[in-house]
Structures are given as C-alpha cells and as structure tokens.
C-alpha cells in the first residue's frame, strides 16, 4: 500500500503541476507535495519492520506471460535511498524557490517525474521494471539540464544522453540474456533472477555489461568524461538531481545486482573494478586542485567521492557495504548542500569563479558557518556525516588490498587541501572589492534549504548507527546469499 502511494504520488504531483497556469501556485504546490511525499516516506520508515526481506510488496500484473510484472517493495537499502530521494527533493525545490524560470510548470513537473522514476528504481523487485524506471530517469534529467542549463548546453547534455543510453542498452542485452537463464517459467522477478544458472564465463559478460552501465552513470574513470561538463552546465537543481540522486542508482545497482548475480567471478573482477575506481579518485583529486570554477570543482570532488563508494561496493564485507550505503546518503546530502551554497553565491555575485570571490565571511557570517559545516562533512571530519561511511569503506578496502587503500587514502589529504583551500579563497581573506554585498542577507527559503542539510550533516555524524541499523539486515542477507552460492 505505502509502496504504491510512494510511487504514484510523485506522478500525480507531476501531472497536477504541469496543468497549472499561474507561477505562484506552481511553487507552492510543488513544495507542499514534495513535503507530503517526504512524510509518506517517513510513514514507510515508521511501519518498516526491517526483516531483511523486501517488505510491503505490491504487484500489478503487466506482461505476465513473459514474466514481467510491476513488483515493488523495499528492504533497508531501498528504504534508505527512497528516504534520501524524498528528503532531497523538497530541499532542491526550496533552494531556488523564487528564481524566475520560463515554463515553470514543466520544470517542476519534470522534477517530480524524476522523483517517481528514482523511487521506482530503488523499490522495483523486477529486473525489467528496474530497467524501465532506470531509463525513465534519463528523460527528465536530459530535459531539465538541456532546457534550463547554461552555455553550450545542447552539445554537452546530448553527450550525456547518448553516453548513458549506450550504457543502459548494453545492460538491456544482459538483462534479456539473464531472463533466459532463469528457472522455468522464466521471470524477471528478483527471486528468479538471483537463482539464474550462469556459468562463470557468462557471469564475466554479465558483470561487464552491468558494470559498463553503472560505471557510466556513477561515473567511474574512464567513463566519466560526460560528468564535469554536464554538472557545470546544468541548472543548479539539475546538478543537485544528477549528483545527489541519479548517480546513486549506479552504486545501488552494483550492490543490488552485480554482487549477487556475478558472485562466482567477483574475486577475479573486483580488483580491476576497484583499480579503475581508485584511479578515478586520484585523477579527479588532482584535477580538482586546479579548478577555478566552483561548480566544476564540486563535479570533480563528486567523482572522488563516488569513486570511493564504487570501490567499496565491490568489497564483500558487511561493514564496508554498510559504509557505502551510509556514504551514499551522506554524499547525497553534502553534494546538494554544496551546490546550494554555490547557487547562493552565484545568485548574489553573478560569478562562481574562485578568483573573483573573497572575504565573504565578513559580511555573511551565518552563511559561512553553514558552508563550513557542509564542507567539513564533505571532507569527512570526525563527527560529521562523511566520516563514519568513509572510515568503514577504508577499513574494508584495507583488508582487501592495503596498497590500494593507501593510494585511495591520499584523497583525505587531497580533499582537505582542495576544499579548505577553496574555502579560504572564497570566504576568508580580504573582501574582494568588486563584489556587491547589497543583497547578501540569506532569504528564508535559502535558510530553509541549508539548515536541514547542515543539521543532518552533524546528526548523521554523531548518530551513524541509527542509519546503519536500517540497512544492516538487508546487507547481511546479500552477503549471506553470496556466501551460500559460493559454498554450495
């Protein structure tokens, strides 16, 4: 029941908003419905029994003769990501609440379409339906970035579209292949997909196909080339959707599909995958040091963080995977927070070049504090949300391969350098005389977006176990199934 409400309500909100004519109504309706959907997901959390198995299954028959049905349910992992989605959407809407846009109704309508697709991806219990929603996220993401983006957006977003479409179509081939390996009668339901009989050669191919799709989405080096440009050119809300939510689909996919389906070849293929991820971490860190554009900097920082998550997600270890899940939530919150900060700066001073800024702290003290909190979360200071997750991931990676961990660990140093250095140049020091501080006071909606983010940064940092508890049984189950397969 609650699953159905969670999937349908964003769609209804989307349709309702697209039919509106007056701009003032649209914002209010969007905000209220996004908060309502968040409340629905909180209800889902309260009624959640956390039994490791997917709960509140909802089945709608579709092409039953081919074994495809709309099956939705959520376990701990799904619920965490659904909560992240429903929490971030109101924040994203608030962050640019009064900004004037052309075709406002379409903008918010697409955001809610995106929300529905994301919830569908995270809660689907049928491989083809998962694919359906996976593909569906692409359409709103493309149109939001291409229609409301910045300079040169058409070329850049098109590259993004074709790139990701390529990845997902390769995955579709793998999905159809798996279907014919499932026990009779063939079905796409997760139960039968995970019991498909695949030889290790077949698993290598399946691994490669899924990895390609997920690596492009996440993005993992060397499939990341679409990402910095797209994040930079997208409107702030678009960057937040892409970085905060959409890339989580890839990591979710690794944990949900690659681990259980390719368990026979995991010990061979995990290493190259982790090496790629770690290469991306180092590569992006170095490039991030040289960035002058705040948004581009965050784009590369994002590659660093997701690289670490991707590396961790290939390590078969309860605490590491738990760390990845927690880090997904933290990264989603932090990166959205950072994009809000950049958006606030850009709206006031019409620039996001670091060299044009300086000394903001003297005129905007509250903003500086909030920015600092989010920044510290992003560089994973203890007692902020980034710490627990990153620590768990490093711990697991260390058991897997100390050398790689040592290299990846450089990111902590790098992270401190590029983030703090950026903070220093933007916020501290002498006031840049060209800046106009006449409108520097934060608006209510900006505060309403930033404060929950900053509060969560600290709250998750202090009480990580509250969140780890939600996903623990589900992660346990995944590890348990994989071990059972490799033994039996």
């Amino acid at each position: 029941m609650i699953t159905g409400i969670l999937i349908i309500s964003p769609l209804l909100a989307s349709i309702l908003i697209m039919m509106q004519k007056k701009n003032t109504n649209i914002r209010l309706i969007a905000l209220i419905s996004s908060i309502l959907i968040f409340i629905f997901s909180i209800i889902a959390l309260i009624t959640f029994k956390n039994s490791a198995y997917p709960e509140t299954l909802m089945t709608i028959p579709w092409m039953s003769s081919l074994g495809i049905d709309f099956r939705f349910a959520f376990d701990g992992i799904s619920l965490m990501l659904i909560l992240l989605t429903t929490f971030l959407i109101p924040i994203i809407i608030l962050a640019s609440y009064t900004v004037n846009r052309s075709k406002l109704h379409l903008f918010y309508g697409l955001i809610f379409l995106m929300e529905m697709a994301l919830i569908g991806v995270f809660s689907s219990q049928d491989l083809l339906v998962f694919y359906l929603f996976w593909e569906l996220t692409l359409i709103p993401a493309y149109f939001i970035t291409a229609a409301w983006g910045g300079e040169n957006r058409i070329k850049i977003t098109f590259k993004f579209f074709i790139y990701t479409l390529f990845g997902s179509l390769v995955m579709l081939a793998a999905i159809i292949f798996i279907y014919f390996k499932t026990p009779l009668p063939h079905s796409f339901s997760f139960d039968s997909v995970f019991t498909a009989h695949l030889t290790s050669v077949e698993q290598i191919w399946i691994f490669s196909a899924f990895f390609l799709a997920f690596a492009i989405k996440i993005p993992i080096f060397p499939f990341h080339t679409w990402q910095p440009d797209t994040y930079t050119v997208a409107p702030p809300a678009g960057s937040m959707l892409l970085a905060g939510l959409m890339l989580k689909m890839g990591i979710y996919g690794i944990i949900r599909f690659i681990l259980p389906m390719c368990s026979l070849v995991l010990d061979k293929l995990a290493l190259p995958a982790i090496i790629l991820s770690v290469t991306g971490i180092i590569y992006a860190s170095i490039i991030a040091l040289r960035q002058n554009d705040l948004k581009k900097l965050i784009a590369y920082v994002s590659i660093v963080h997701v690289g670490l998550m991707a590396a961790g997600s290939f390590v078969l270890n309860i605490s590491t995977l738990q760390g990845v899940i927690l880090q997904m939530i933290s990264h989603g919150i932090n990166v959205v927070g950072l994009f809000i900060v950049i958006d606030i700066i850009e709206r006031r001073f019409n620039t996001r070049q670091i060299s044009d800024l300086g000394g903001l702290v003297h005129k905007m003290p509250l903003f500086s504090i909030l920015f600092m909190i989010i920044l510290l979360g992003s560089i994973a200071l203890p007692l902020t949300n980034g710490f627990a997750g990153e620590f768990l991931i490093f711990l697991g990676l260390f058991k897997f391969n100390p050398w790689l961990t040592a290299i990846a660990g450089l990111t902590i140093i790098f992270g401190a350098i590029y983030m703090l250095w950026m903070y220093q140049r933007v916020m501290l020091g002498k006031i840049n005389e060209n800046l106009d501080f006449s409108k520097s006071v934060l608006k209510w909606y900006e505060l309403a977006a930033l404060i929950p983010v900053a509060v969560l940064v600290i709250f998750i940092g202090v009480f990580p176990s509250l969140f780890l508890r939600i996903s623990e049984p589900a992660i346990n189950l995944i590890i348990y199934t994989i071990n059972a397969i490799s033994i039996g």
Binding site: L132, L136, L138, A147, I162, L169, I176
Partner: protein
C-alpha cells in the same frame, strides 16, 4: 475476407462518388466503410482457419495484421481531409487507390498460394507507384514514382522468377503442398529450389526496403506527397513483413538453414545502414525514410529467430512503429503546410509556439528510439527477447548498438524543437489535427503501458 470485400466496395463507391462530384460525402463514406471493415475483420477472430480453396486462409495471424493495417489506414485518412483541402476536385482517384492498396495488403497477409502473394503485392505496388506520383506537377513526385516503379518492377521480376523456380522444384503453387514437399523431400530438392528461395526473399526485401535493396526508399519517401509517404512507410511495411513471416517462418520453416543466415546478414546490414546513414540527414522525410529502413531490420530479427514469440513480436512492433511514424509524418504535414519546407531547421523553436505538436513529435521520436514507457520500447524489447530466445546474442547486441546510433538522429528534431531559437510564428492547428495528434500520442503511451492488448497471437 469480409473486410476485404467491404474495402473493395468502399473503394468502388468512392470512385462513383467522384463521378458524381460528391466531395463532401467521400471521407465520411470512407471512414464508415473502414470502420465496418475493421469490425468485420475482428469478428473473424478465432473463427479457425477459414479457407478459400487453394487461394486464401483467414486465420488469427491475418486478422491481427489486417486490424493493424486498417487502423493505420484510418489514421492516415484522418490527415487526408486537411492535407488535400486546397485541391478542388473530388480526389476519388487518390482515395480509391489508397483503398485498393489496402486490399492488396490484406491479400498479402492471408494468401495460401504463391500466385495470391504475387497478386497481392502487385495490387499494392501498382497503386503505390501511381500514388507516389500523384503530385502531377511536382518534379520530385514524378521522380519518386518513376524510381519506385523501375526498382519495384525489378523486384517483382525477382519475385516472379523465384516463385516459378519454387514451382518447378515442388510442383505446386499451393503453400500447404509446398510445405509438404519440403518436409518430405528435404535435401533431395533440386539446387534451383534454393535459388528460387533466395530470389523470393530478395523480391520481398525490395518491397520492405531491406538493405542492400533499400536504395529506392529515401528518394521515393522524400519525393512522394507526405501523406502517401506516411501510408507507404506504415501499411506497406506491415503488409510486407506479414507476407515475409507467412512465407518463410510458416511455410519454409523446414528449410530454415537455407535462408536464416542470409536473413541474419540482411537484418544487421539493414539496421546499421539505416541508422548510420540516418545520422547525416537534414530533411525530416529522408530522416524518417532511413529510420523506416532500420526498422525493417528490427522487424526481420523476429523472422531470423523463428519461435513462438515471433508473430506476436512482429504484430506489436508494426503497430507501435506505424502509430509513431504516422504521428511524426502528420506533424511534418502540418509544419510543411505552413512553412513550405520539411528540413529539420523548420522545426526550430516549435516547442515555444506549438506545445502540443512538439510533445507529439517528441513522443513519436522517443517511441521510435525505444525509450520506456512508450510503445516502441515494449516492441523493441519483445523483438530482442524473441531473437535472444533462439540464441542470437550478437544480433541483439548489434541491434542495440544500432538503437544508440538511432537515438542520435531521432534527437536532432527534438533538440531543434525545444532548444533552438526559431523566428516562425505559431502554426494554426485545426481541431481535427489537434485531435489526431493527441489521439496518436495517447495511443503510443497506452500501448507502451499495456502492450498485452496486442499480445494475443
């Protein structure tokens, strides 16, 4: 069979209405007639295999495909009133030829005799040759008709030669007898049976615009009046693929080894040619011509891999393809009507001036790309599953790569519509056009959400 008779009667009636100069009555008569034909066709569902001795068999397969074709024809005719509104004369020739072409198409789905196949193809083709040139004073239209006629008659020659060789080898035109001989004799059939098989295949491939026999398609699609192009790329293609399935998958199944490899290559070459050359098109009609070539390749995939899913995959695919293509062509007609041009640049800024039309075009192109949740995705998925079931993994992978390439050119118009600035004023859209655009858009979406409506075979 009743549907066929109804359509012949409607076509004749249209001609007489033309003689009486009753222009106003013509389209209502045609719509009523086609609606009756659609219903009488559906009434023959599950009637078993009603056979007309040695000539035609009406079974569920033909009923289903006839349904799609009659429905498509109705959709095309819905655009006709406005398309020809500036022409004063009653147009009985064009309308009745379109209806006769539909008769040929219906014969092609239900033949049980090679001569009937030939007759069906000829009824269809000759009508189409004339229709392609029906813009009498337009150079491109004349060129299209001549090209279509010359290449088409070549194809007919091949087909006829093939049929006669098959007759020589098996001693019959009747497909049931031929299948019997093939099963009994098997490899003892003379060598020229294989030649006949190949020539028949080539003849049909010509009609379907399958590469490497596709060279006529872009020019003909471009030159013909847009309404006729829409008709050509939907009804003719559906009829062709139905005939292909009936002949090869049903009756020549026992000698599958002889033709499936060739068809495999045809299929993949068609998909790649259509999609790769499509990348370089600047004109909407040519772009859709190459799109239609590539879709012929996807359709062939279900015949390469013949199994229980094939017929249904073809049905779903041709329905999804036809509706999306007509939607796209319909919008091209409206835009061309106003702006006298059908290059992609003509669509610049349409998203601002005509939101409904833009949405329709976007849905049509996304459906042709195969993006969920539109009909095109369900259809493509079904075709790929069919091919995968028989183990054609590489065919599926190459076809998927083709889909990625096709996304590049299908997005050109979408980008032009939404993200490029245009200086044209809004296009006035009549109520009937608007209704048809919305109707087609909704059908495309619904067929994607409920593909089981057509999963009946």
């Amino acid at each position: 069979m009743n549907a066929l008779i109804t359509i012949v009667v409607v076509a004749l009636l249209t001609m007489f209405l033309g003689l009486r100069k009753a222009k106003k009555a013509m389209l209502p008569v045609i719509f009523t007639g086609l609606a009756i034909a659609f219903i009488t066709n559906l009434l023959e569902w599950n009637n078993g295999n009603v056979s007309f001795p040695n000539m035609m068999v009406v079974d569920n397969f033909s009923v289903a495909f006839n349904g799609v074709m009659i429905f498509t024809t109705i959709l095309v005719f819905m655009f006709a009133g406005n398309y020809y509104r500036s022409i004063d004369r009653p147009l009985e020739d064009i309308y009745s030829l379109m209806l006769f072409a539909l008769c040929g198409a219906i014969v092609m789905t239900s033949f049980s005799n090679l001569t009937m196949l030939f007759i069906g193809i000829e009824i269809l083709s000759i009508s189409m040759y004339i229709l392609a040139g029906s813009k009498k004073f337009d150079l491109a239209s004349n060129e299209a008709a001549l090209k279509y006629f010359l290449t088409g008659s070549f194809a007919t020659g091949f087909l006829l030669f093939g049929i006669s060789l098959i007759y020589g080898a098996t001693g019959s035109f009747n497909l049931d007898k031929i299948s019997e001989v093939i099963i009994n004799e098997g490899n003892r059939l003379p060598q020229y049976f294989k030649v006949g098989l190949l020539l028949t295949m080539v003849g049909l491939a010509f009609k379907l615009a399958v590469a490497p026999f596709h060279f006529w398609a872009p020019d003909v699609y471009h030159g013909s009046p847009t309404l006729i192009t829409a008709y050509m790329s939907t009804v003719v293609k559906t009829a062709g693929i139905a005939a292909f399935y009936k002949l090869f998958a049903e009756h020549f199944y026992a000698v599958k080894d002889l033709w499936s490899d060739t068809l495999w290559i045809f299929s993949i070459v068609t998909i790649l040619t259509g999609n790769l050359i499509g990348l370089y098109q600047r004109n909407m009609k040519r772009l859709l011509a190459y799109s239609s070539i590539s879709h012929a390749g996807y359709l062939l995939m279900a015949i390469v891999a013949v199994n229980a899913l094939s017929a249904n995959a073809l049905l779903l695919y041709s329905a999804a393809y036809s509706i999306a293509t007509i939607l796209a062509f319909g919008i091209i007609i409206i835009v061309r009507d106003e702006r006298k041009n059908d290059d992609i640049e003509t669509f610049n800024g349409l998203g601002k001036t005509n939101p409904y039309m833009s949405l329709g075009m976007t849905v049509a192109l996304l459906s042709l790309t195969g993006i969920p949740p539109l009909a095109g995705f369900a259809a493509k998925y079904y075709i790929f599953t069919t091919a995968m079931q028989d183990g054609y993994l590489w065919l599926v992978i190459l076809a998927l790569l083709g889909s990625v390439v096709s996304a590049v050119y299908y997005f050109k118009p979408i980008i032009a519509i939404y993200f490029k600035e245009g200086s044209w004023p809004p296009i006035p859209v009549t109520a009937s056009y608007r209704f048809e655009i919305i109707f087609n858009t909704v059908v495309t979406l619904l067929l994607g959400l409920m593909p089981w409506v057509l999963m009946v075979l």
